[in-house]
Symmetry: D3
Subunit: 278 residues, 6 copies
């Protein structure tokens, strides 16, 4: 079976693969508490596994870099063992990954992101990176890429971090991170705050104002939802949807012009269309 | 009528107001193209007006700083007149505003944000600011704070930037920014991209992957939706909801302990609850 | 009447104006205490008004950006309500303004500065900006651009910040910032320090050493001079001189080659002249 | 068997382990070409394996963080697949790892470094980190920690990167990174440069001046020495020496006062001893 | 004769001197072209000599650090041999000097500045340093500290950089930097620019706008004024005035409280005085 | 005698010298305690003297910049009078020196380094500088460039900082820095630490782990070895070897292509050689 993971290849192998490959996948996650039953590395482990499965299914169009095992997790630091990196650090490491890959000729990047918290800064950084380099960059998070399955797999009113959906996905992809014997009842939510305060929730529920909070203000065991009710079939379905759609994204990106050429062409069209107006 | 805008006060007036005030509101927006009928300053003008109305209704609990007239707008730079600032710049200016206000004794901050694009970096910065200082910071954007009215006021399938909802709100708050004679038909959308590519849309529609794009790739006149179909009654209703809920938020924040004390207390509770478990 | 303020224009209007305009004016000021009778926003309000009047008189050669409402004011932080920004922040925001304007084709910039304290870093930053970009940048402060009128309008031995000259100018340009009823007698100066210590004074009096000090070490009410003795005729004269000379400056800049081309030509001349000497 | 790897633990497990643990081990390596027979991830794989074996033998005194898979490798960028990070990036990520671990109560750190190139900046960063925090930090590289075995295991005159010593160590610790079938004869060295130019060599041979060079200037296949002559017994011996000495180091560090207290005490002694001298 | 220059002392000598010394002098200059007759090192050489003479006359109240030989000289880069440093670099090196000296117990600093161009950023940096540390910092430049003599010693209408005043001072303090045989007639000024453009001139003549320019736009040989007409008696008088006044400044600073205590006391006075007003 | 020191030249002299010169030498040292008998400036004084002698012997191939008198010395801060600069500061000042010299046409640089502590960051910075600019940069330290003589001249088991070798070299090059009357017996070493802890030693003895330490933890008078046993003949021999080899290095560099061209050519060779392999 061909190898598409850079860290598992020699340089002559990479050189040959680069003749066909057009897209690089960079897994990024976190090392962050996920309640009493999930291991702290779950987010980067899921990201790594999703990336591995995606490149394996992409017919050589994509290569994969080694996973970045730490993410943006200040809101989990009240729980022992969590690591967090500053936003500037994470942007710098991504910048260096992409610049290195660019030097080998790749100009299209997919960040396979396993940690929702990284979305607090990725969109901004990606927009600046695109402007500066003209390279194309997209981010995939399974909760967005497979949102239809996520909604279907959720059993709790409040879910998200370390909930039954994430547990089910992990059980399928990286089963060793789930400690079955520690899966108890629903996560014990603390007395709720003003309805106008919302934070660390899944985007679509972000009605009201946003204010950053520690998970310790929400949940006394660090989890949300009811992890014990996970469904491994849903986990597999979620994985398959995310993998297949990611492959579809890669095919689309590989054929589309890079960001610099796209923007330039569109701007010219508009300029032409409006040129005679005033 | 009492004055709560710092830039319109003398220092003895500020000194006296600080005996009661607990919250500072910082308006932030953008100077960015909004299609052929809306002036580029619309986002910071709306933010400023919302902040003025909010402090006027907050019974002295809040003071207001002068508006920051530029925001994160790289995706609009293909259209003449747009200004954009780097994320590090915007974080620095916010940092300096809040540090200055903190030195005068204020430790609770509401960012009254008039530009959706600023949400690409604000959540991350706010979380870091809170960790570093222990001060409390929240962000209000009218599209989130008044989301029920927004959904009701939208007439188009694809709406958001410079659409009928924003036009209606502007018509009520800062009517001079709307050039009625330039309001034509619906914004001319360009041929759509892969459904897996999504960008610059309102959060809840962000299904699929996210990739930054220029507005020029979406819309040939720089707007979305159908601005001419705006409803000024909806605009007034939206304004009132946002103002009233922002005042409610301010009251809540003024009474709540600052972030440092909250987090510490919660962490202690959890530590106690779990202390005997293993 | 034509519009030359970017924040009050649509993008097609800016596009058309850019066919003739060659210079951009960026107002920068401060939000900083000015004693008991002047509002904190006076410096950026004056800068904004001067910029507006200047572009209005420049026959389309210049466009104006929205004012930057905060400046370098650490020496005023002992008085409530003052905001201050770090030098790196202010340089970054100016950098972003100018880079944005450059992208729309403008390469000549006038900083209309309403706050003397900003001169503590602007000359250095401007020199570096010019080297890096080859664009031309000039700074105007009314106390320098209209220095002849300033000397004439001063009634006090020690004047400068919030004195009768600034009050007179404000009374003409932005009269709402002057609280007439709070204009008392001369500012109460504190016991003077060693004659070798000088700081925060107008440049030409800067004999001796320079050491930064808080205004609170000079003046117990935050002002200098005798604001109540202002003369509004002098204020109007000062304004007119600054406006007319700024228009003259703009005409000169619009015709002169940008910095990169000027320096290169001069260097070649010198090289030629000295080429045979040694 | 007890678990000491943070990424494979839940937060209650980490909390319990922290009652005894005093030292954290952070593996850092590289993703960098190692000639035609070794996979690019070899350096971080070796670092990870050494760290795992060391914590497993340290009786609970040490915990391990997930490996940092990229290092300082500009001199390998001429070969496809190599990733490199800027020095500031690597310092930032280490800073964030250590600050996170410190927040959980750990103040003694061992960097288990698998890539010699990282020693071009680690000593400087470590000295600054110690000054700033008072925490203790040490770095282990197998070529130094087991130098006696290294000298013994080397068969070539010029060895180092990807040579028989590294191959033998990898064969024992992470055998999948060695492609036996690609192990040919000695690495083809290019015509040598001036004897006064030395770079990228093992420290003790660094006689003369130092100048950075690309590996491509030394070796046409990216390796040094004669990898095919590796001896797996030497590899095992090297591993055991490094592991055992690292455990010894951990025991020493766990008992010694942290850097801040050590330096202070010594400085006082000297001050006392010399107080009466002059 | 006692030694007060740190770089010429052993640590026990410094330790003893610190029992009495209260002020540190840091010479800063430039390595920058000064026309055909003055050596490029003149500015830091003058600063060093002035500092040496000042500490020698200060009865042990002051110690001197080694000179910083490079300054802010972008406007001289068109002439061969000039070195220039970025503003951030110069601030960093000053920051490190002062932080080091502070660690040995010194909290009062005099920057003995030999290069007018450094005044383009020093006032701003000094104000920020004072705010951040509470330490006192002053800057001396001979053209300000001895301005009465400078005005008297100038023979040319346009003078400043490398003119007869500077030449006379150098001839007295560091005579080897003057190449007598290269002193020709007045510096050949180029055709003047608009009177509204002013730059790189002595502060008091800075009427009009300020815009950075290369010296090559002013003077075809890199000097101003008429260096050959220097008067060494004036040079000696200028030196003596600057030295004596600098010693006076040092005595004043040594007795005055540091910046943190001064500002705090004044702020309290004002607060008390105004407390009952509104 | 021709002059090759930029700070002692006028710009026309530099212009003429640049017609032949190809290499610039930048002396960098430290101001750092060296025990009771050596002055703190010794490291930059030695670097300056070595650079002066080297350019004087290089037949016009090299020019010399003024010495940087401060270095990386955090480990000496426990002793009065030591100055230290952050790594970022030192990299910035070097960057500015080299960029300035590059602008005058020089692209080959030798750092004449007098302080071993600077090697904790120089290799990393040099590699990044080379990558970014394509310019060639080498570093010379006498302990490496003349290592054969150093080993021969050492009388003590533990030597290095301020030992008999450095004293002998200083005695020959800059004799005023040695206070003969303070040269006592061997430096009083403190009780040794674990053999696995090594720091601040000469590279070849760096067996074990590396951990930064204060000199105050090693030696109670700040020196190592037995300075009183220095041999001035060895000092002269060491100087001559370093000078002659540095001249040889300069000749080699002057003829060799710059880094950008070298790397490119080698990469092409390799690419060609391996092109048909897989």
């Amino acid at each position: 079976m061909p190898e598409y993971r850079l860290h598992h290849m020699t340089w002559p192998q990479v050189r040959d693969a680069l003749e066909y490959a057009r897209v690089a996948i960079v897994p990024i996650g976190a090392t962050e508490q996920h309640g009493p039953a999930l291991k702290a590395g779950i987010d980067y482990r899921i990201a790594e596994a999703l990336a591995e499965q995606t490149v394996a299914a992409a017919d050589g169009l994509a290569l994969m870099a080694p996973p970045i095992p730490v993410g943006f997790s200040p809101h989990h630091m009240d729980f022992p063992g969590t690591l967090t990196a500053r936003i500037t650090t994470l942007c710098a490491i991504l910048e260096d990954y992409l610049a290195s890959l660019n030097r080998h000729g790749l100009r299209r990047f997919v960040l396979m992101n396993g940690h929702g918290g990284n979305l607090a800064f990725l969109p901004g950084w990606m927009a600046e990176y695109r402007e500066r380099t003209g390279d194309t960059v997209a981010v995939v998070h399974w909760s967005m890429m497979g949102r239809d399955v996520v909604v279907d797999a959720a059993n709790s009113e409040v879910y998200g971090h370390a909930c039954e959906v994430e547990t089910g996905l992990a059980k399928h992809l990286v089963p060793d991170v789930v400690l079955e014997e520690e899966l108890g009842g629903p996560a014990p939510l603390l007395a709720s705050e003003s309805a106008l305060y919302r934070g660390h929730a899944i985007p679509e529920r972000n009605v009201g104002a946003f204010t950053p909070r520690s998970l310790a203000e929400f949940s006394s065991n660090g989890a949300l939802g009811d992890p014990a009710t996970y469904d491994s079939d849903k986990g597999r379905e979620l994985f398959e949807k995310v993998r297949d759609r990611s492959v579809e994204l890669i095919r689309h990106m590989a054929e589309a012009p890079t960001a610099d050429r796209t923007a330039r062409k569109k701007a010219e069209q508009i300029s032409a269309a409006w040129g005679t107006r005033t």
